[in-house]
């Protein structure tokens, strides 16, 4: 589109340049938009992974504990009752004090003991109950340090800050550095974070209760929503007559899929807790509420999968004499299984991350015990994240991020399973 006389540019040339510039700008905006969205996602994942790093290990100290029979075996017979009545704090504290004989003042001795986590005495108790024959000897054990010492050792507390503005005093820092110089401080894996229940102490808080609660809740959700959802999809797609009622059901399912989740929480609270008197904070009720919420997803995915089955299969089955029910259950439904399973797994993944409705039915309470059944009070992973996010102790920031990493890990596993199911069945057919 060159101009006829090169030395006298037409007005169109300038216009064209402007239009091309607009094109480039527009294109850059489009790319920037998607770049923004993707970098926001990356920012979220990176900041959470980074914050969760410090939860991988737990600062601990090695102490030579004199297992004093007077404190640990007050009844003197080594029985379970005697061990239950024992004072486990004393030997641990004495072991730490023995390393700093110069600390004499009452207040300083208390500050010294505060370096240790409360978990130290629980650990000693577990050790003694496992092997009571050790009582009377001197043994070397590794005990967790408190959350503030842990933060300091991992560099999250700056010793340059004014002493009044940090949770760990100069004196305590000195002791920690002495212990470190003696080679007593180590950073073992923080198994407690995955295998212990919740606690008010950050260094003792673990996710096991929340993981079990999530599993129990998800089990109830699956047991209810999968069969009901598949049956509803089969009915609506294969058997339902075309009439007013079917239309109502269809519109209703589409709307239900877009109802805010907190409304389902209100339903659970008003109907299941207040009218039917079901237990509060229980995975049972949580599972029922989430099942109602997941149902539309499964029905919609199920119907899509069923309608994608070629009609020839149905017709062939009917043609050789199968009843309509047999045709559907023996021939159409098996073909639709991968689609239904994929939809179900995605629905389950979404309900695993759901928080608001579970808060409404009381799964927000602090529960340290591990749930053992579907009617035990418990919490779930996303609620645990919510609770730790609100906790005032600074060490809970890392725990919150760690819990998010665990939750995202479960979600990635479920979505990978969905992809795997789809691939596997695609290959077979």
């Amino acid at each position: 589109m060159s101009s006829p006389t090169p030395d006298a540019p037409l007005a169109a040339d300038g216009r064209l340049r402007r239009r091309y510039r607009q094109e480039r700008v527009f294109r850059a905006f489009a790319l920037a938009a998607i770049g923004f969205a993707l970098s926001a996602l990356a920012g979220l994942l990176v900041s959470i992974s980074y914050q969760s790093l410090s939860v991988i290990t737990q600062s601990s100290v090695e102490l030579d504990v004199v297992l004093d029979p007077d404190a640990l075996d007050p009844l003197g017979d080594g029985s379970a009752a005697s061990l239950a009545a024992a004072n486990y704090a004393k030997p641990v504290r004495s072991a730490l004090r023995a390393l700093f004989p110069e600390v004499r003042k009452r207040r300083e001795r208390k500050a010294l003991v505060r370096l240790l986590s409360d978990g130290a005495e629980y650990d000693l108790r577990a050790l003694m109950e496992a092997s009571p024959e050790l009582i009377g000897s001197t043994q070397t054990f590794v005990f967790p340090l408190s959350d503030d010492v842990d933060l300091f050792l991992k560099g999250s507390i700056d010793s340059e800050v004014d002493e009044a503005d940090r949770k760990i005093s100069d004196r305590q820092i000195g002791w920690v550095e002495t212990l470190d110089a003696q080679g007593r401080i180590s950073q073992p894996w923080n198994w407690r974070f995955l295998f212990a229940g919740d606690s008010r102490e950050p260094e003792l808080a673990g996710l096991q209760g929340a993981i079990r609660g999530s599993m129990l809740t998800l089990l109830i959700t699956f047991l209810l929503s999968f069969p009901i959802g598949v049956c509803a999809a089969v009915y609506l797609e294969e058997f339902a007559p075309k009439n007013r009622f079917t239309d109502v059901v269809e519109v209703n399912i589409n709307n239900l899929a877009a109802v805010p989740s907190i409304i389902f929480g209100l339903l659970g609270l008003a109907v299941f807790l207040n009218i039917f008197g079901m237990p509060r904070s229980a995975p049972l009720v949580g599972g029922v509420v989430l099942a109602l919420m997941t149902l539309p997803t499964i029905i919609i995915a199920g119907r899509a999968a069923l309608s994608a089955v070629p009609p020839s299969i149905r017709e062939a089955a009917l043609g050789v004499g199968a009843s309509p029910t047999q045709a559907v259950f023996h021939h159409v439904l098996p073909q639709a299984v991968p689609g239904i399973l994929t939809g179900t797994i995605i629905g389950m993944a979404r309900s695993l991350g759901e928080t608001a409705p579970l808060l409404m039915i009381g799964m927000v309470a602090f529960i340290a015990d591990l749930p053992t059944g579907v009617d035990d009070p418990s919490t779930v992973l996303p609620v645990q994240i919510f609770l730790w996010n609100d906790a005032p102790e600074r060490a809970f920031v890392a725990r919150t991020s760690g819990a998010i990493v665990v939750l995202l890990g479960f979600l990635i596993a479920m979505n990978a399973a969905a992809v795997w199911v789809r691939r596997r069945f695609e290959m077979r057919s």
Partner: protein, 462 residues
């Protein structure tokens, strides 16, 4: 106790199946004269028939007891308490029952009075009777059903037709569950909201500008006047939604344009699922990100600019929510853009328009109903979003358009009014249901309008 019965149920079903099949096999074969007897259906159908009869009655009993068992027990305990004459004026039967349920009755002091001990005993006894009754009916139902099925099983029984009818009814009932859920939502919200509006007039609720739901326990308490004007809450919701849409609207649409027109096929193949990951991340994670990471950043930037920033600003929550709903806008807009026939785009390009002119003047207008629908769905999503605002926005009901101020939203208020409260007779807790009803209807209308816009105004090119 009753939990075990749920585990027994599959065993009963298996037993019914086995019994039905062996009966069918016994029926077939040859009669006394040596004629071959042909059954109407396959032995499996007889087995399924027996299975249905032996498993459905006990299943119904378990469901009924799960739903109504505790109502019966509680009613009985209250009746016994009222009749016992142990109650005092300050101690209602409902109080005692609550203490017993929460396990407070076994602790010493205030909560271990004679009525508590009495109620605990009655409750234990009533539960025992209920468990015994349910177990009895469970096995009687299973046995009776199986006996009935066996007695009906003759060569004349059309087992397959019976089984198929049962299957059809079961399928139908499953599809009704979704309708029942909607009815349950509407009825429970209406019922509780009606109780609220009996205490507080709708005019005050929808037009009042004072929100202070704590009812004063003492007359001199400050800031707890029990005012229920919800306008500041609606304003806060709108502010956060507006911020979220200001981010997700343009970015979502431009991202959809990039995916639909500019991205190569291979880039599109990885970008689209990664973009949708954003919507797959639980909102509690976005909330935590907004509260712990974005909030302090927003505050720092705002203060560097010399602005006064609340520690829980609307902007931080709106930002996180905006990013969270980008995929809702982008994937629906992308679908709408892709649904426009290629010929329109090619005609425009052939006339000499650049790609961006084609997009702006031809493709986007043609896809507009779908894009508007996507925006409306995103708005409905933003209004109903809970965790991000609970964690990152505040509780203060301010009426302001300043994005750096703290505002509160409908969902935050519903949650804070109800969480941790066990009594549902005060205006405070009932207000949550009025807010819930409002939220339900607003999102319902947005969804319906979005649906209508997409259907009615879609340009037909075929």
């Amino acid at each position: 106790m009753i939990g075990i019965l749920w585990l027994v149920l599959p065993l009963l079903a298996a037993a019914g199946f086995w019994a039905g099949r062996s009966r069918a096999r016994a029926l077939s074969g040859a009669d006394a004269d040596g004629h071959r007897i042909v059954l109407h259906s396959l032995p499996t159908h007889y087995a399924q028939y027996a299975l249905a009869w032996s498993a459905i009655p006990p299943l119904l009993i378990l469901v009924v007891s799960a739903l109504f068992g505790s109502i019966l027990v509680d009613g009985w305990v209250i009746a016994q308490l009222e009749a016992s004459g142990l109650l005092r004026e300050t101690l209602s039967s409902a109080d005692v029952l609550r203490d017993v349920h929460t396990g407070l009755a076994n602790t010493t002091g205030e909560n271990s009075s004679p009525p508590h001990t009495f109620a605990q005993n009655v409750l234990d006894r009533a539960r025992g009777v209920l468990n015994l009754g349910v177990t009895g009916f469970f096995f009687v139902g299973a046995g009776g059903g199986l006996w009935f099925a066996r007695s009906r099983m003759t060569t004349a029984l059309r087992a397959r037709n019976h089984v198929e009818r049962i299957v059809h009814v079961a399928l139908f009932l499953c599809s009704v569950v979704a309708v029942l859920t909607t009815i349950g939502i509407v009825v429970s919200l209406f019922f509780e909201a009606a109780r609220f509006f009996a205490l507080v007039s709708p005019a005050e609720f929808f037009l009042g500008t004072q929100w202070s739901p704590q009812t004063a326990l003492r007359a001199d308490q400050v800031g707890s006047s029990g005012a229920f004007g919800a306008v500041p809450i609606f304003a806060g919701t709108l502010l956060i939604t507006a911020i979220a849409m200001a981010i997700s609207g343009p970015i979502g649409l431009m991202a959809a344009i990039h995916l639909a027109f500019y991205a190569s096929a291979s880039a599109r193949a990885w970008m689209k699922p990664v973009l949708e990951l954003i919507a797959g991340i639980p909102t509690v994670v976005w909330g935590s990100f907004a509260a712990l990471t974005l909030g302090p950043q927003v505050r720092m930037i705002g203060e560097a600019l010399g602005l006064e920033v609340a520690s829980e600003s609307a902007l931080a929550a709106g930002l996180a929510m905006g990013v969270m709903i980008i995929p809702f806008v982008s994937s629906l807009s992308d679908d709408a853009l892709n649904a426009v026939p290629r010929s329109l785009r090619e005609a425009s390009l052939a006339m000499g328009a650049t790609e961006s002119e084609t997009i702006r003047k031809v493709m986007v207008p043609a896809a507009l109903p779908g894009i508007v629908g996507a925006f409306l769905l995103a708005v409905s999503r933003a209004i109903g979003e809970t965790m991000i605002v609970v964690m990152a926005a505040g509780l203060a009901a301010n009426m302001t358009a300043n994005p750096f101020a703290a505002v509160t939203t409908v969902t935050v208020q519903i949650l804070t009014l109800l969480v941790g409260d066990q009594e549902f007779d005060s205006a405070k807790t009932l207000a949550a249901f009025a807010l819930g009803l409002t939220l339900f209807f607003v999102t319902l209308c947005l969804n319906l309008v979005a649906l209508v816009v997409v259907r009615r105004f879609r340009e037909e090119y075929e």
